[in-house]
Each structure stands twice: as C-alpha cells, then as structure tokens.
Symmetry: C2
Subunit: 362 residues, 2 copies
C-alpha cells in the first residue's frame, strides 16, 4: 500500500503547524500511530459490533444501508472530557457504553427502530491505547445491549478527547407520508404524563461513585449511571399503541418536561407524591434528596410518555407510572404540586453548557 | 419554559467537577450561555440552511426525513483545532465551509445525492460568540453551495474546539437490492484512472496563505483551500453512466489511489507527465513543487474515477483527465512512471494522526 511504503510512521514532525502545533509527546504511538492502522485495530476490536452485513460496511467513503421504514430518523451528540465525564467517576469503558445509550435513547424517544451508529473520535494527548481499547469495548458492549452496530466514523488526534455519535434508525410513514413517531409537540390538554423506571437513579449513582459508597442498595444506582440502557422496546410499543408524544430523560425530568410544555404549547402539572423515587436514592439521600435527584438529575434515559390515560394503560408496561397531567393553563411551564396543592420549588436541571449534570444537594 | 424560569444562567458553578473542572473564564457568556438559547441563536443564524421542510426539523429528540433513494448513504468526520485548522491560516467562516465540503465530498465520491447534515460542536474556552457566528455563517454558505441543509446536532462546551459532521444522502437500489454507488473496491485491470480538476490546488493555496502571497494567480488556489466545493454533480453523473469505482481526494492523490488499489486488489500506474498541474502551483512552486503538491497534497475534494476508458469518455466532463491505468501487477500498490518508464519517488501524504496535511516542499 503506497502510503505505508512511503510513510515515516514514527515521525511526529509536520509542516505548517507553527507555534499552534499540538504537543508532540502524545500517548498513542506506533503501531497505532498511523490512522489506517488504528482504524483496522478499532474495527477488529469492535468485532460483531461492526455493521458488516449492511449494503456497504465501514471502509469506503461512506456507509450504505436500507432503512427499516420509509423515514430515516437521525440524532447526534458530542461527549467531551471534563464536561460529560470525569476520569475518577467513569472509566473509558463506561464512556463508550454511555455514548451508545445516550444516542440510542434519542431514537427510543421517537419510537424509532435504531439501526446503525457513526462514531467520530478526537483523541487528546493523555489518551493511551489502553484507554482507547476500553472505550471501544464499552462502545461494542453498549451496541450489543441496544441492538445496534457501528457503520462508520473517523479518528483523529486533537488537544482534548471528544467523541461524537450519530445514531440512525427508521420509522414507518402513514398514508399522508408523515413519519409515525413520538414527538415533543404532541401533548394535548387532558393527556396524562407517565414516566418509566425511577428517575434520579443514575444521578444517585453518580453521587454514590463520588462518595465511594458500595453498600448493596448502591449497585443498581451505580449501574444506571455507568451502563444505562435506552428504552427502545418501550418507545416502539408506545408508537404502536398510538402514544403521540414522548421525550427521554437526559437533562432531568423537569427540564425535559419543559421541552414538551414549550413545544406543545401546553402547561404540565406533576404530583410530587406520585413520583416513583429510586430506592437507593431514598436510602442514601432521604426523601427530599431523592426528589431533587428525580426532578433535576439527568441521564436516566428513561422515557416520559404523554397520551390519553387509556392509551398509556393499554401499554401494560410494568414500570410505567402516571405522575401528572397536561393543562391548557400556563402554557410552556411545568408546575410541581405538593399533596396540599401548593407548588414545590423546582431544582435546577442539567444544561450542557453549564457542565457537569448534577444539581446541588443540601 | 421551566428550565429558564428556574435556571441561574449566569452561574458557572457546578457540583461534582472537582479539580478536573473546565476553566470558568469562558469566552461565551450570556445571553448565549444557556444551551437552549445558544441553539436558538444558531438556528436563527443558519436561516434557510436549516432543514425546515423535512418530516421533522431540528427541535425534537431526532430529525426525520425520507431518503431520496432506497439506500441511505452516511459519512462522518471530526474537525478539531490544531489538527484540521490553525487560526492564522483559516478563519472560523472557512472552517465552517470546509466542514460541509469535506463531508459532502464523501457522498459525492459515492455518487450519492446529499440531503442533510447533523453537526455537533464542542466549543473550547477561547471560542468567542463572534467566532461561533462566523463558523455558523461558513456552515450555512457551505450548505447553500452544496445543496444540503442542517437537520440537527448538539452544542456543548469543552476543553478545545471540535466539530463533527455527519452527512446523509441516498442512492438507488438495483434489482438485486444492492446500492448503486461508486465503490473503492470497484477497480479492475484494464480500467483507466481519471481525475477531476487540478489536484494540489488546495495544498498550494494553503502554502500561499502561509506565505501571505496574494498575487493574482494565488486567488484560485486560496479559494480552493478556503472554500472548496465537493463534486456532487460529477459523482451523480458518474454513477449514471456506470462508473463502478471512485474516491474523493482528501488525503492526497497517491494515498487515495492507494485505498483503491488495496481494496480492489489491483495495481495502479500513474503517468507523471499526464498529471494536470494547477497553474498557481507551477507559478509559485515550479513544476517539481507542483507535482509534489498534486501527488501528496490533500483536501482538494476533487474525484478520482476508475472505469473503462469509453465509460469515462461518455461523461464528456470538461475538467476530467486520464492520468493512468489499473493493472493486475503489484496489487495494493501505486507506482508513478516518468516519461522514460522509471519510477518517480512518491511524497508522503496526509495522515490525520500525523497532524497537518501538507507534505514538505524542498
């Protein structure tokens, strides 16, 4: 191959970088120094998580596949060190897994069938080949847990580590050629709000990792933080029974409900007492702490479904809890009601530009 | 909207970041500090470059659209500061434009119809709101030049600036349900190698920007470097007449020919004298310098087409030049022949992990 015969793979010098050049004492050196050798290594390590059965698997200028429905559904997220993970809280394996979960969860929230992922990796100067291998292993296991495969991507060296994931799936079209999906703007007054699982579990898990707590009730919370699984089957079931509106809980229950309220032009009222609190969160942080984590802790990747009550009930999902309702009043706003009807103060949610996801606990 | 009512948008404090926290003296502050406000600003600035006519435009968990053919074609690239651009050589407007060109070019190289892009942006601490606006303007103009629109994405803050772009398009299926595309593994002995434009023009442009040369012949080269346009129409025409094999010139002519040679299991022979050299490159760097730039300078985003000679000729493309042929001999290798048949030494190409793209000139 011409570029190998003629390349000087040990060299880190290059023309034109000038004083802005990246530091040359990079942690990833030969044999993985060459971009193409590194890609071969990654593809081999991914194993059956590579989409080798699609029309055109990784290796050409682009991947090609047939969507499993008339509409293609696509979402992309960036994950960057310092903002989305800190090394003492998540291993690179965990980061790889969460990259998959976060993106597939967005497809689950549409009621779409996830199919393939594209992954770009910018490797910062502290990234070792062991880190990369761990990331790839987490990515591969995350793919297996979500029934998706890697169809392509890119790997480059940079000043800090960032991964960007595009998740691609499909949905059916109705007779008017509209995609049959769960939308943020599909909430109507009279609908109920249902939530899957126990929101705040992942946020509790992060705090327990921070505090190095490993007592038995911590296990489920730590697993929810490190290895969450997007609710693909629930999203597909919801679209099948005619649920019109959903979102996944990535920014925190209140903030994500706010997106629905704003885009649907409706008010949302949540019953504080109806919130299904995670057992681990109550055990370690008390009822008030667990409520804060449930309302403002993000990255649970559970689903909020909004529909008529009989539609929600027809799902017969075991871990679905009705927690509130959609109103005509106060459009765009979310209000939490205590048992006596008084409003409950809403803790602040996760904003990617405000960095690390967790609300402060008292 | 709940997150606005309850957020403290001026605050840069956050729990859990510890000593690994990103520096708080970030350049992007209110009113664009809040992720959602920033996304609104970006969408407004993108204007008609936002894919507002697709099934589900930006604003939901994912975008939805109908592919313009039975197969979806997808490619993703990351662009990161210090590796893909240096501030004294490219403005943020140029970076935005090139993000589009580089990715759409990969679809052009497949003979696919480009449709939508997803863009994730990690904004480093030195990024100002003016930089972001300039990037968005370049992105929008790049979209207009390539006939594509932005369907979604993500914006977060990080330790250095990285953009990742996924370009999505479509291709038709044949009767056996195979995607009708231009493939890297489609070269056969007896085919000729054709190249569009004058490879090395963009690489010459970068050197001229470095040297602050603005004499008239420099203009075209600098434009090719700063605002390249992927060859979408040529790719579509090639697939229509039955060209089986293509790649775009992103890593350098020799390196990209090497991908074809390796994946097709064939040898490739290039006639040195047949190379169409850029006028500006010859004028500023002499014939030998222009040859080096043509063979090893990447990011021209021109196309290499490989097919029977009569198929290439049926394209009647004005700027297409036959530069060599496909052989059974020396599979996986590319050889350049001088007029007397002697091999010409191949300069080193661009490897993303080796940093900045340009080969050394003597």
């Amino acid at each position: 191959m011409a570029e190998r015969t003629n390349a000087a793979p040990g060299s880190t010098s290059s023309a034109g970088t000038g004083e802005d050049a990246v530091a040359s004492d990079v942690a990833i050196e030969d044999p993985a120094h060459n971009e193409f050798a590194l890609i071969d290594r990654i593809l081999e390590r991914l194993g059956d998580a590579v989409a080798s059965e699609i029309l055109l698997p990784p290796g050409d200028d682009a991947a090609a596949w047939v969507p499993a429905g008339g509409a293609v559904i696509a979402t992309a997220d960036a994950m960057t060190e310092g903002s989305h993970w800190l090394p003492h809280l998540l291993s690179m394996y965990d980061v790889g897994w969460r990259c998959v979960a976060a993106n597939v969860s967005d497809l689950a929230a549409m009621g779409a069938t996830p199919q393939v992922l594209l992954v770009t990796a910018v490797l910062g100067p502290t990234m070792t080949i062991d880190d990369l291998d761990a990331f790839i292993d987490g990515l591969a296991d995350g793919c297996r847990a979500h029934g998706v495969q890697i169809a392509g991507g890119d790997v480059v060296r940079g000043r800090s580590t960032t991964f960007s994931i595009t998740a691609l799936g499909a949905a059916r079209l109705d007779r008017a050629n509209r995609a049959i999906v769960l939308r943020r703007d599909g909430a109507h007054p009279g609908d109920v709000i249902a939530v899957s699982g126990t929101p705040g579990l992942a946020a509790a898990g992060m705090r327990l990792v921070e505090q190095a707590r490993t007592d038995p009730p911590a296990d489920a919370a730590i697993a929810a933080f490190r290895h969450p699984v997007g609710r693909v089957d629930l999203g597909l079931a919801a679209v099948a029974v005619g649920v019109p509106c959903a979102i996944d809980i990535s920014d925190g229950l209140i903030q994500d409900l706010g997106h629905i309220a704003q885009r649907s032009g409706v008010g949302i009222e949540i019953d504080l007492e109806a919130l299904p609190l995670p057992q681990a969160a109550v055990a370690f942080f008390g009822t008030e702490g667990a409520r804060t984590l449930a309302l403002a802790g993000g990255e649970d990747f559970e689903l909020i479904l909004v529909a008529r009550q009989n539609v929600i009930e027809s799902l017969e999902a075991e871990d679905l809890t009705i927690i509130g309702r959609v109103l005509e009043q106060h459009p765009g706003e979310v209000v939490i009601r205590q048992a006596d009807g008084a409003p409950y103060p809403v803790p602040q949610g996760w904003d990617a530009l405000r960095r690390w996801p967790l609300p402060r606990l008292q």
